[in-house]
């Protein structure tokens, strides 16, 4: 079998200029591991591509201008009304451009999906510990994209200049205005004067179609480059180690699978755009600063911020001739940034607590790091409760309960809920670890109950396969961070003792009660115990009557 040493014509032309064989030889057969949870990031990437495609289509007709016009399009209910050009052109896209409504709806659904996929992807990273060294920077890049994606989505939602989006911007304007010292100045610079003014649509437009997508595109590139450089993480299993990556090659399997998945995501968003109405701006009417609709809701990803602002009690301080609006400062300008900063810095915080400085390419099962899992669930609970708060009026009206009670409940629940969720999730994870330990040492419960001649009942256990046993034990044996001696060899007190003590205490808390995997000796003992004639563990060929009391046997 002789290999070709020369490319065919057109490929040669390219290779002569780019040296594609040098670039491609490593990557064409690059191995990617297979798992459903690895597709979440793909969904985010594909919805971003869909957003660029559909967004470009929309810009051909959208007029980013707040100049006032009289509507004369084909939607008869708004005919003759005064409105901004932005809103009028959105109506034109919806009613007069064929396929315009479809593309607008695909664009909006893809935006909603984009942020949802990034968020679930982030949770997958979190719970499996994929953010650990060497991937901390990629965590930050991904986090940056999520943040920008949310801002991008919100700005896009403001562009049509309908009643709902204008209300959203009015709220944002009010929040910015609450910033100490610079609030009014920031507002006047962002909106070109008083709200609403006539500048924000054209300004937000360029940020929406050029600035933020450009930055996200650059970050996507860096993100994917790092995925290729670090190689994908994988779940522990037979033959899968810290030093290899096991899976299918990029060409052909992933070219087909991932490429096909792009079409699946696009297809589903297109079907959603065709069948499910989203943001029907023609029903809201043009923005009017003196009107608002009851039950106004932002896109889902702004809901937690909305909830935070809704449930905070109305505190305000007046002193020395200034006003401090705690009712906005804390829920809109302190809590959300603090929350997201904590999420962004989590890899570094955890690394400091555990003192772990090694590279990690095998993913953790969430149960194997109970404290991290607990923290993650606490964060989800906090976010979810705020999100529910964002719809407190809808919950009150739909379930026929008092709005005030919903709000008061949430005021306490956002503090107590995460603590409770942390404890429950952590103990849950520890119980699952114990179940794994049992499975390893005693095997799998067959449900077959055996009565011995003396009348003693025992359940048969069947040993698990070597592959499964290996998978269950292929994880770290965790040790809390050690504090080191009080004084060095010369009797000098070690520096920053208090900090080290705090760190060691945190580390002990972090690993407390986590179940270690059994040692070789413990496994040995457990298996020897299995040969005890009193207990029958092996499931023999003739006992196939599962879940029956086999009193006539043995």
């Amino acid at each position: 079998m002789s290999a070709n040493t020369e490319f065919p014509g057109p490929v040669k032309w390219i290779d002569d200029r780019l040296g594609i064989a040098k670039i491609g030889k490593k990557n064409l057969r690059k191995v990617f591991p297979d798992h459903w949870s690895f597709m979440l990031g793909e969904i985010a990437l594909y919805s971003f591509i869909i957003l660029i495609l559909t967004g470009t289509f929309l810009t051909f007709w959208f007029k980013p201008s707040m100049a006032e016009v009289q509507y004369n399009g084909s939607y008869s209910l708004l005919k003759g009304l005064h409105m901004s050009e932005a809103y009028a052109s959105t109506l034109d896209i919806t009613f007069d451009v064929r396929g315009g409504l479809l593309v607008r709806q695909i664009h909006h659904w893809a935006a909603v999906l984009f942020i949802a996929a990034m968020m679930v992807h982030l949770l997958r990273m979190f719970f499996t510990g994929a953010f650990r060294k060497p991937r901390e920077l990629n965590w930050l890049i991904g986090f940056g994209m999520l943040f920008l994606g949310i801002v991008e989505g919100f700005i896009g939602y403001g562009l049509p200049d309908d009643l709902l989006s204008g209300t959203g911007l009015r709220i944002t304007n009010g929040m910015i205005q609450a910033s100490p010292v610079v609030g009014t100045y920031m507002n006047f610079f962002i909106f070109g004067g008083e709200f609403p003014g006539d500048d924000f649509v054209s300004r937000f437009f360029i940020v929406h179609v050029l600035l933020i997508p450009g930055i996200i595109l650059a970050l996507v590139t860096a993100h994917l480059f790092l995925v290729v450089y670090h190689k994908h993480t994988q779940y522990a299993g037979p033959g899968r180690t810290q030093k290899n990556v096991v899976g299918y090659p990029l060409f052909p399997v992933y070219t087909a699978k991932a490429g096909g998945f792009f079409f699946v995501v696009f297809g589903i968003t297109a079907l959603m755009g065709a069948l499910m109405q989203i943001n029907p701006v023609w029903l809201y009417g043009p923005y009017n600063p003196a009107e608002v609709t009851a039950g106004s809701q932002p896109d889902w990803y702004m809901g937690w911020l909305e909830g935070s602002v809704r449930i905070f009690p109305g505190f305000e301080s007046h002193f020395w001739g200034v006003t401090l609006s705690w009712n906005l400062l804390i829920p809109a300008l302190i809590i959300p940034p603090a929350f997201v900063t904590l999420v962004a810095l989590y890899p570094f915080i955890e690394g400091w607590i555990t003192g772990d400085k090694r590279e990690h390419h095998l993913l953790d099962r969430p149960r194997d790091v109970p404290t991290r899992t607990g923290i993650g669930v606490a964060f989800i609970t906090f976010y979810a409760l705020l999100w529910i708060g964002g719809g407190n009026d809808l919950i009150a009206t739909h379930f026929g309960i008092s709005l005030n009670n919903v709000t008061w409940f949430l005021r306490f629940a956002v503090i107590l809920g995460p603590i409770l969720a942390f404890m429950v999730a952590r103990r849950w994870a520890i119980s699952l670890q114990r179940a794994d330990y049992e499975r390893l040492t005693h095997g799998l419960e067959t449900g077959v109950i055996v009565r011995s001649p003396e009348g003693k009942y025992t359940e048969k256990h069947q040993p698990i396969s070597t592959y499964e046993a290996y998978s269950l034990t292929a994880r770290d044996r965790v040790l809390p961070h050690e504090i080191g001696p009080e004084t060095d060899d010369n009797g000098v007190r070690a520096p920053r003792r208090a900090l080290h003590k705090a760190r060691a205490a945190l580390s002990r808390f972090y690993f407390a009660d986590a179940v270690q995997k059994p040692t070789a000796q413990e496994l040995e003992e457990a298996h020897e115990h299995a040969h005890d004639p009193d207990e029958i563990h092996e499931l023999t060929e003739d006992t196939e009557t599962y879940r029956e009391v086999t009193s006539d046997r043995s």
Binding site: I171, N173, F188, P252, G260
Partner: protein, 351 residues
């Protein structure tokens, strides 16, 4: 590699460590043997999958063509009706065709990969992310050489003046943005309300007489000088409207608790408040007659209009500003003056 797999627990020799290496207590058994799929064994099954995949691709082609036909064939204002659901036929048919076509292309490719392409897992070695000691030595050397050749470290005057020049470059980036907007000045303190401005219904623009209002009624109103602005300067109109919108309400005088100093601000139980919420500025619009409570639909701040519009629930911290009312010579409601405090959300300089 295989000799590394079965190593017993080894303590990492790093400075700090939180764990001990894996691959104990059970040695790595290696990759599970490959289980052949039905399509690996049975050529008929493989052919069946081939037909499935090509059918999906073929159908996708037809659907894409269908979408193109629909673009021209279906009038853009025709409506499709399914019971209570309805939608624009043009958009819906095109979307269905394109969506299904894309989905089928994707599903076909994935089916092809899963059933027909070789599915034996392969393994690739990883390498640590950091550079090798030789590379580090090499780059450090090269960098030192470059620094020495430039004289950057020695010629401190060049270095410092360059840092200064680059640092000051940030200034124009900020200063040149100055014209993004005017300074706030007193803009937030004033509205177009003034002494003698009539209170008009914000839909009909008709002035309101006290006799037009019955007890329990709430009217959304505006200053009479707002509407003329619309023709002359639409932006100023919107900005003025965002601050000057008011609600006029008539409450049984016996139920009103008047704040000291506001005894003559109402006319026979008719009171006028700013419509702009003091929380973040949504127009307040939900009125409950029996309790005289008005609720902001954005964040549910609730104000008691009979009690100086004080906050009874929700995140707002201040009562709605009240506009002092009077009756002019023709018997219409007018403002005694503008608002005595800034309307809308709080801000730092407000005091």
């Amino acid at each position: 590699m295989s000799d590394e797999k079965n190593l017993p627990a080894v303590k990492d020799d790093g400075e700090h460590h939180g764990a001990v290496e894996v691959a104990e207590p059970i040695p790595d058994p290696g990759l599970e043997p490959h289980e052949p799929r039905i399509t690996d064994i049975d050529p008929k099954a493989a052919d069946r999958v081939e037909r499935q995949v090509s059918a999906m691709f073929g159908l996708a082609t037809l659907l894409v063509l269908g979408a193109c036909v629909a673009y021209f064939a279906i009038p853009r204002d025709s409506i499709l009706q399914f019971g209570p659901l309805s939608g624009n036929a043009n958009n819906m048919v095109m979307g269905l065709c394109i969506g299904l076509a894309l989905f089928l292309i994707g599903a076909g490719a994935i089916q092809w990969a899963k059933k027909l392409m070789v599915d034996e897992e392969i393994s690739e070695d990883r390498h640590p992310a950091h550079s090798s000691p030789e590379q580090i030595a090499e780059i450090t050397e090269a960098f030192k050489q470059g620094t020495a050749e430039s004289g950057f470290g020695r010629r401190k005057m060049i270095r410092n003046s360059l840092i200064g020049a680059l640092g000051v470059l940030g200034l124009p980036a900020i200063i040149f943005l100055r014209d993004l907007g005017p300074l706030p000045g007193r803009a937030l303190y004033n509205t177009i309300w003034a002494k003698g401005i009539r209170v008009v219904n914000d839909v009909t623009d008709r002035p309101i007489k006290p006799s037009d209002m019955i007890v329990g009624q709430l009217v959304n109103a505006a200053p009479a000088n707002l509407a003329p602005l619309q023709e002359e300067d639409p932006t100023a109109y919107q900005n003025a409207k965002a601050k000057s919108a008011v609600i006029v309400v008539r409450i049984k005088p016996s139920e009103i608790r008047t704040k000291p100093g506001r005894e003559n601000w109402g006319v026979d139980g008719i009171l006028c408040y700013s419509k702009i919420c003091t929380h973040v500025g949504c127009p307040i619009s939900l009125y409950e007659q029996t309790t005289h409570h008005v609720l902001c639909p954005c964040h549910q701040s609730t104000f008691d209009l009979a009690d100086g519009a004080k906050v009874v629930f929700g995140p707002a911290a201040r009562p709605l500003p009240q506009l002092p009312l009077a009756v002019d010579s023709e018997g219409y409601l007018v403002a005694q003056s503008g608002f005595h405090e800034p309307v809308g959300p709080s801000f730092w300089e407000r005091g």
